[in-house]
Subunit: 344 residues, 2 copies
């Protein structure tokens, strides 16, 4: 193992104290009135020796690590991969590096990861939580780790949270289906139904149909048996008391499971079935028919979440009346909701 270059090495090579070197390298040369010449020699030596400060030492001293933890349910899910990328760019631009962790919607995993990261002294945590209430995470925050929720909230008086207009988006999809003449919706929800985003998407959707005195059929799909459950459900539609004429997939994975089931069973039987999805994917505008979907404002969500975190970190965050920030979504109307025939 090679010995790394330290402040002392530079100090010796230049013939000054390491105090001076530290000051200069941290850009405080001016402020402390260190002569331009000395500064230059120090900087030159640092370059020469390829000095890179030991972050662990610096962190120990300053209490800051320049790291952020991002907890999502699954980094390989397209939505979170996109979110992670945007967040990474924001963070890197400010000199942070980010730990990205997947929780699989599992509170135990989530807590273990949060604990690990807070033990690593991350300067902040952004989490798409699977918790049912805010208690545990509030303790983390109150223990000194700035924390903001993303994509899901835990109530208006708890933690700062940045979410999409889930209820509104659900309603948009419902209204659009109604306008197209669909009257027998089947909602594909998730077994993790306590998660605010999932719950609100469904509520918004169901309420809108209710106004027209139409009741939605709801089926919750297992998070880990998604493809299997969806396949089963779609194969047995005739057993439902109301045979649906359209489907609402509550997230992108569900829509993909639906489409791949359609594919496997021969798409013809489903020609007339409307389909909408909460989450937009690149391939939704490639496939035939193209899929009507709600697009989330991922960029804006990341921006705001990062802002809030920054504010918590530097202590400038002022309490607002509500700390849930809801950002508008966009409805992308495509072919999957064009009614082919007026079937009673």
């Amino acid at each position: 193992m090679v010995k790394r270059v330290t402040l002392d090495d530079i100090a010796q090579s230049v013939g000054v104290s390491k105090t001076l070197v530290s000051l200069v390298l941290n850009g405080k040369g001016q402020q402390y009135g260190i002569s331009k010449q000395t500064c230059d020699r120090v900087v030159a030596a640092a370059m020469e020796l390829d000095y890179r400060p030991n972050q662990a030492a610096r962190s120990l001293r300053t209490g800051k690590t320049g790291t952020i933890g991002l907890l999502v349910s699954d980094i390989s899910n397209v939505f979170y991969a996109q979110l992670a990328r945007i967040f990474e760019d924001l963070a890197t631009a400010k000199g942070y590096n980010v730990f990205i962790c997947s929780t699989d919607e599992n509170v135990v995993k989530e807590r273990r990861l949060a604990t690990m990261l807070s033990s690593r002294q991350v300067d902040g945590l952004v989490v798409s939580t699977s918790e049912r209430d805010a208690e545990w995470l509030m303790a983390v925050r109150d223990g000194g780790t700035p924390l903001v929720l993303i994509d899901r909230h835990l109530g208006p008086d708890a933690l700062d949270a940045v979410v999409a207009a889930n209820r509104g988006g659900g309603a948009m999809l419902a209204r659009h289906l109604l306008e197209q003449g669909f009257t027998r919706p089947l909602v594909l929800g998730l077994s993790t139904s306590h998660i605010s985003s999932v719950a609100e998407r469904i509520e918004g959707f169901v309420e809108e149909f209710k106004r027209e005195r139409i009741a939605c059929t709801l089926r919750n799909i297992g998070f880990n048996t998604l493809q299997y459950d969806v396949g089963n459900l779609l194969a047995n539609l005739q057993t439902l008391s109301v045979i649906p004429d359209c489907l609402f997939a509550v997230n992108n994975n569900l829509a993909t499971a639906v489409l791949s089931t359609f594919r496997a069973k021969g798409i013809k039987n489903f020609k007339k079935m409307g389909l909408v999805c909460f989450d937009d994917l690149p391939y939704f505008s490639i496939i035939k028919p193209t899929i009507t979907a709600v697009e989330q404002p991922v960029g804006e969500m990341c921006n705001l979440a990062f802002d809030l975190l920054q504010q918590q970190i530097d202590g400038s965050r002022v309490k607002a009346s509500s700390n849930i920030f809801e950002l508008p979504v966009k409805l992308n109307i495509r072919e999957s909701t064009q009614k082919k025939s007026k079937n009673k």
Copy 2:
């Protein structure tokens, strides 16, 4: 800001030295013959006070941080998102947390990120590099940061590298196209043509056609203007000296750009065009026609890369004759390569 619990706090609360507390908490109680009773009291106090060791301090002392850096070109690219997820699971299981960073195939960014991470004293680096040669990265490794390449190598005598059988996969696709009667291939490559994976996929493909005395047309697509370039190219196929009857997309983004161009221009004109892709995506088996693709052994690649890194970390890595490890790929034959009609 809340004061965090330290070893000293525990020591005082139990009435022993912090040496003892440290020993016990690190599971060396037995080894140092500390009485069971004392151990229990220490552990109880640690629980009670919710003690979490300050990693920065520990790292400073031990030189280990328990962190790994993963550099890929873009975490929002499905292939890397998947790779990152698998790698994360392996790392987390061993108590590591991983920094995931995107380089955008940009060497400058890549070097900046690698420098940041090595300054954070990561225990190791796994990188899907955009470098043209191994020099710079070898310096990093020789500077004390264990490092293994993934997905791309930099020559057989340089750095440990785990890659897919890119040349072999390219050849498989070519052979399959030939068997299906395609004779005028257009290869969609990338402007980053120095990258080993891209180069080898194309070489393997081209060589196979060459055996049949067929020359491939090759066009390199800009990494940042992908959709635009592909659109342009496909709109002007008639200007090529040989009008192609099949396309080879060298990675998944290219294939998606092709499909979305087909879609935009009305897929009918392209009905007879064969299409193959290096990289498989979930939607390839949903879309119509389904897409023939080569599937990479992501799981195995991650496993091996992690293993090699671990070996470098604990110093047990022995030099092999070559340090490029090539893992077999799988050809998934689907509808996009079924010739509809024998056109001359």
